[in-house]
Amino acid sequence: MGIFEAILLTVITAATPLVLAAIGELVTERSGVLNLGVEGMMVMGAACAFIATQQTGSPYIGILAGIASGALFSLLFGFLTLTLVANQVATGLALTILGLGVSGMIGESYVGQSGIKLPQIVFPILSDIPFLGPLLFRQDLIFYLSIALVAGVHWFLFRSRAGLKLRSVGDSHSSAHALGINVIRTRYLAVMFGGACAGLAGAQLSLVYTPQWAENMSAGRGWIALALVVFASWRPWRIVAGGYLFGAVSISQLYAQAFGIGIPSQFLSALPYLATIVVLILISHNRRMTLINTPAALGKAFVPDR
């Protein structure tokens, strides 16, 4: 295995949780809800996935537990912001803090245990393609899911009727309401989809990335996922580009250090963020396109007239 291939394998593992959490948040935001609790839902997913795996011995049940816990946890956010119309920013931050605390508590007795790594699914023939085979066709289920989800979300948002409705809710909830679309229900579903994806991203952390549970193990990846949504200007495939760009730069800097190229490590550590900012500036020069993609009702509460 060449070094380039090795780097790419590491990049894929590092980028997958970012892509997953970001694609979920993208759908949530497209419906006009800003959920800053991604980090909390992710770390809950990581804890529940690990615990379920240790209890049952099956990482696939762990994945389900991660998805379910993320979705359930986001339901709390949905209830507070959609039903009780609490402030979305404050509630999202609270969700993150709560998630970090609760996951630390339920996971306490699992710290230090060695987990079960999610097995690879090897596609026959395809996986024998030189270079691309091991990278793309000898991966775990969560990686395949991440790509499928992005494709699915793209199709859903821009090719399906339900997706059109969801986008209309995110752009103008009053108009959508007037057209007879159930705004609150749509947003509930979008929030839960976001939670499920964040939970799946968490499961990737504790079952694939580092098969173990450590308190606060998401270590800020939820925030990076949130930033990725803006970076992608709310377009699904750009999430993949952004996530892999960020992953590539942050992993290459570690390999560069091990190679001993002699650039100060603090600068190298800042590189992923610098690269992201540069790309963001480049793609946002077209203000009209940015405005078209931004959900106009993002973060605004909806209270139907009686």
Binding site: I3, A6, I7, T10, T13, A14, L36, E39, L93, T96, I97, L100, G101, G104, E108, V111, G112, Q113, S114, K117, L205, Y209, T210, P211, Q212, A214, E215, N216, M217, A219, G220, R221, W223, L226, A227, S250, I251, L254, Y255, Q257, A258, F259, G260, G262, I263, P264, S265, Q266, S269
Partner: protein, 356 residues
Amino acid sequence: MKKILFALATTAAVIGFSAGASAADKAKICFVYVGSKTDGGWTQAHDLGRQELEKALGDKIETQFLENVPEGPDAERAIERLARSGCGLIFTTSFGFMDATVKIAAKFPDVKFEHATGYKTAPNLATYNSRFYEGRYIQGQIAAKISQKGVAGYIASFPIPEVVMGINSFVTGARSINPDFKIKVVWANTWFDPGKEADAAKALIDQGVDVLTQHTDTTAPMQVAAERGIKAFGQASDMIKAGPETQLTAIVDTWGAYYIKRTQAFIDGKWETTSSWDGLKDGILTMAPYTNMPDDVKALAEATQKKIESGELKPFTGPLKKQDGSEWLAAGVSSDDGTLLGMNFYVEGVDDKLPQ
């Protein structure tokens, strides 16, 4: 955004800690942790020390702790909260808490402070540290014996003297066995991020190191080493559970005795500012069992440990050269503690440029 989160998290932690009705006659001994008390590494070791303290002096004192306190301005607020809440003696257990501790110590002259691994003292602020580098010297020797390729990987956190000292000691130990031994260093620029530490481990292993050591706090590198079938050293706590067939040994921090000694002095009214820097012989660090290595290597490690404990061997003893080839210590001369505590250069054999 992360900053905001941390600020909020700290506030939550401060509000959240047990506000149980404290008996007025019991002295309150408080701890500030940079990580979670179950991190399996650095902070867990401090918390075990705190538990030992409670066991030993539980009838005279009560303890309190704050977990996950970020280094920087938030630490100041957390420490001040503890000082205000009636803590008599506060241990701040991370290098990055230094300036915050100094500042709050000046503000509360009646409260005693102890800062781990720092170098700034005041009439009510002591420092304490452990000669971890003694353990790293032994690890270096083991690495030189075990490694087929003569290259070890070193996952470092931040370029502070403590970490640089560890790297240098490891290399010095390794070169006492194999004069051509080299190490590759990757700075993770974090103490605690399982994912990033695992990535760093992969980066090192992919580039040919066959022994891994770390100066970060989670067991993730140990796990990667186990997966890739190479050997590794644990850090701060015994990490054998993460790599039953991987861990060679680990530096285990055992702070309990120190916490008991200092708290006793505090209760007796005999607490004074000190700069304590104990080592293997004082039991403030111990080596986890030497495992997964041939018997002769184990014997060598045990012999070296004995020599360090008896004072016969000092890891930083010349002839030693700096990375640029200039002489650092002449033959037979040992480094003074001041140089070690401010260490900002590499010795020969480190394949990395020290971030300044």
